[in-house]
């Protein structure tokens, strides 16, 4: 009963966080807040993967083989939690870090050049002087 309640809370919580993060990315005008929302989105996706990978169909133990013997492998496979989602999430975390660092750098550089991190200041159409500035320099 309590377990079901906790599961329900965490699933609903994940869904709400997902929506909030998408809202943040789409609506917030400040690029830093957009970046924060993007990291929240990435973390939520990772947590969804972990929860989905935690199958409730068998008793769960850490995926560690207690004794290095062939006869243990059968029981190990029947009782250990599936380690693959964790491995996939680790990969996704590393990739997400690379993207976030790149975006953070670009925001800093944009602030140095333009003096603003508000997308409303970036929205004006390309004007002719900028166009004639051309592709070079």
């Amino acid at each position: 009963m309590l377990e079901d309640f906790l599961w329900g809370i965490s699933v609903v919580g994940l869904a709400v966080t997902l929506v909030i993060s998408l809202y943040g990315i789409a609506v917030k005008p400040n690029l830093i807040k957009k970046l924060i929302a993007l990291t929240i989105l990435g973390d939520t996706a990772n947590l969804i993967f972990i929860i989905i990978g935690y199958r409730l169909i068998y008793p769960v133990k850490p995926p560690i083989l207690p004794v290095w013997k062939r006869s243990y492998v059968g029981t190990f496979a029947a009782h250990a939690v599936d380690p693959l989602p964790q491995a996939l999430v680790l990969t996704a975390v590393v990739i997400g870090m690379a993207v976030n660092v790149l975006i953070a750098f670009a925001i800093i550089q944009l602030y140095r050049l333009h003096g603003s991190v508000d997308v409303r200041d970036l929205r004006q159409l390309p004007e002719l002087p900028e166009l004639t500035g051309g592709d070079e320099e």
Binding site: L22, I25, L31, K34, L38, L41, G42, A45, N46, I48, F49, I52, G53, R55, I57, L84, P85, L88, T91, A92, I95, G96, A98, V99, L102, I103, A106, I107, Q109, L110, L113, H114, L122, P126, L128, E130, L131, T132, G133, G134, D135, E136
Partner: protein
């Protein structure tokens, strides 16, 4: 040798990319050394991909390489069929030529440029060769990160940063959505190997991985919706197209050619792989709904891209909208779903990649001369540089679909395939082509016959290497057009028929564990 070619093709560029920054410290950023290094890197990749191409086309089954000796479905495998090999050879061929072009175009930071460029090539090749859905995610991210950084290559211009940031945000959301789709696929299928997924969907049985864990139809509906949405963001199809017209022009012109010609292909290739190889003939309700959506958004992209081309003053932005239009054609054809439509889509992807890259490269010569991307400022420059004018005209007319050039023949195939399904789709193809023709005519007229023809202060003449690349690609356009029936019969048709042959795809990957 055969299996080595599968493994080496994506590994060579990534190794070259990571070694380049250190090497350039040793040589103190000597431009000639860096350029030679990049030529060797892309040239070797071209060589292995040619070997791979020949091997795949001479063998009847797809080639499989298991990393670390872990066989599918346990380990990550690369599985190359003719579709993947064809995409890979187009990628490496264009990347090699664009490396020659870039030397004169990129004037500062050549070593960082090539680090990102080789990383981009590795990511693209990984997308085309992989046989694992999670590895596809990783490779799409590798491609994307390099692409974001290349869009922001002129890091002292805030407009380039702004365009790159927009691309990075929407791209990162897209890949995260695909990651969630992978979670759902893993929950239901218990595997992320493409061949294994296909086997489970088609009811083939196995020894290692047993039955699926949940309803495949429900899980597939959600996962396909999310995954295809993510891929359509990468391919810039209409509701998700808004990043492309900013991002592609902001990049240096050789990068625009790579982004418009090759990177968008990763998205449509992934959709093709999912619909035609993995899901071929299964979950009919879901696939039918999806194909209707694909046809609608494809038609919308084609029309919107064509209409917005007309009003552009920035020549690179005009070409970027044309990319949206052509991606719309390909997605429409994928939505139709017949084998003929797949053939048309593959042929159009190949032709569009070559012609669009050529269009960007040849227009880049004029942009360099004028120091401007404004069409009015390019007026008359074609008379100054006729050697670049001819490739510009060839690529523009080819993209419109004028007969002797290559895109005409893929548009003909597309027309056949679309009209088998509905004449409305075929009409969309014709109408948008006509609208695009007016825009291209405006560009050609201005550049060739426009008033002016003065080189601006600070404008630079094109290097001979840049013009040579353009002329060579123009010859390729014409040759592909003249040889189109031969190419379709010997390269495109086998690629399409192997892509829909899921039994061979599954058997090649899982031959050891599949029950007879």
């Amino acid at each position: 040798m055969s299996l080595n070619a599968v493994a080496l093709t994506p590994i060579i560029p990534i190794v070259f990319a990571f070694a380049l920054p250190m090497l350039s410290i040793v040589f103190k950023g000597n431009r000639k050394v860096v350029e030679g290094y990049a030529l060797v890197g892309t040239g070797l990749t071209l060589l292995t991909s040619v070997l791979l191409f020949l091997k795949v086309y001479s063998s009847s089954a797809p080639l499989v390489y298991s990393f670390g000796g872990w066989r599918a479905p346990v380990g990550i495998i690369y599985e190359v069929d003719r579709l993947g090999a064809l995409m890979a050879i187009v990628t490496t061929f264009l990347m090699f030529l664009i490396t020659i072009y870039s030397y004169r175009y990129i004037e500062e930071g050549l070593e960082w440029y090539y680090t990102l460029y080789l990383g981009l090539e590795a990511g693209l090749l990984g997308v085309f060769l992989t046989g694992d859905a999670f590895n596809l995610f990783v490779m799409i991210e590798v491609t994307s990160i390099a692409a974001y950084a290349l869009v922001m290559f002129y890091r002292n211009r805030w407009r380039a940063l702004s365009a790159g940031l927009r691309y990075a945000f929407i791209g990162a959301v897209g890949t995260t959505i695909y990651f969630i789709a992978l979670a759902i696929i893993y929950y239901a299928f218990g595997t992320l190997n493409m061949a294994n997924m296909s086997a489970l969907l088609h009811g083939m049985t196995f020894q290692v991985v047993g039955s699926p864990y949940a309803s495949l139809v429900k899980a597939s509906a959600v996962a396909l919706a999310l995954a295809v949405w993510a891929f359509l963001i990468k391919a810039a199809i209409v509701p998700n197209h808004f990043w492309l017209p900013d991002a592609h022009p902001a990049a240096p012109t050789p990068v625009s050619a790579v982004l418009s010609g090759l990177v968008v292909n990763a998205g449509v290739y992934a959709v093709m792989r999912f619909i035609f190889t993995i899901y071929r003939g299964t979950v009919p309700g879901v696939i039918h709904a999806l194909s209707v959506v694909l046809m609608v958004v494809g038609a919308a992209s084609a029309l919107l891209g064509a209409v917005l081309m007309v009003v552009q003053r920035d020549v690179k932005r005009l070409i970027a909208y044309s990319t949206i239009m052509h991606m719309g054609y390909i997605v429409m054809a994928i939505g139709v779903g017949s084998q003929l439509a797949l053939e048309a889509a593959i042929f159009h992807t190949v032709n569009h990649a070559i012609a669009k890259a050529l269009l960007f490269l040849s227009v880049g010569i004029f942009i360099r001369m004028a120091g401007s991307r404004d069409i009015a400022r390019l007026a008359g420059l074609g008379r100054k540089a006729p050697a670049a004018m001819v490739p510009l005209a060839v690529s523009a007319l080819s993209l419109v679909g004028i007969p002797p050039f290559n895109v005409f023949f893929s548009k003909l195939l597309l027309f056949d395939a679309l009209s088998q399904r509905s004449y409305v789709l075929a009409l969309v193809l014709v109408v948008s082509s006509v609208i695009a023709l007016t825009s291209y005519m405006r560009v050609l007229y201005e550049v060739w016959l426009g008033e002016g023809g003065e080189m601006r202060e600070g404008g630079r003449k094109a290097g001979a290497s840049m013009t040579a690349v353009c002329v060579f690609l123009a010859i390729v356009c014409v040759a592909l057009g003249i040889a189109a029936p031969y190419v379709v019969a010997h390269y495109i048709h086998p690629a399409a028929s192997q892509a829909v042959n899921y039994t061979a795809y599954v058997k090649a990957a899982l031959s050891g564990v599949l029950k007879a």
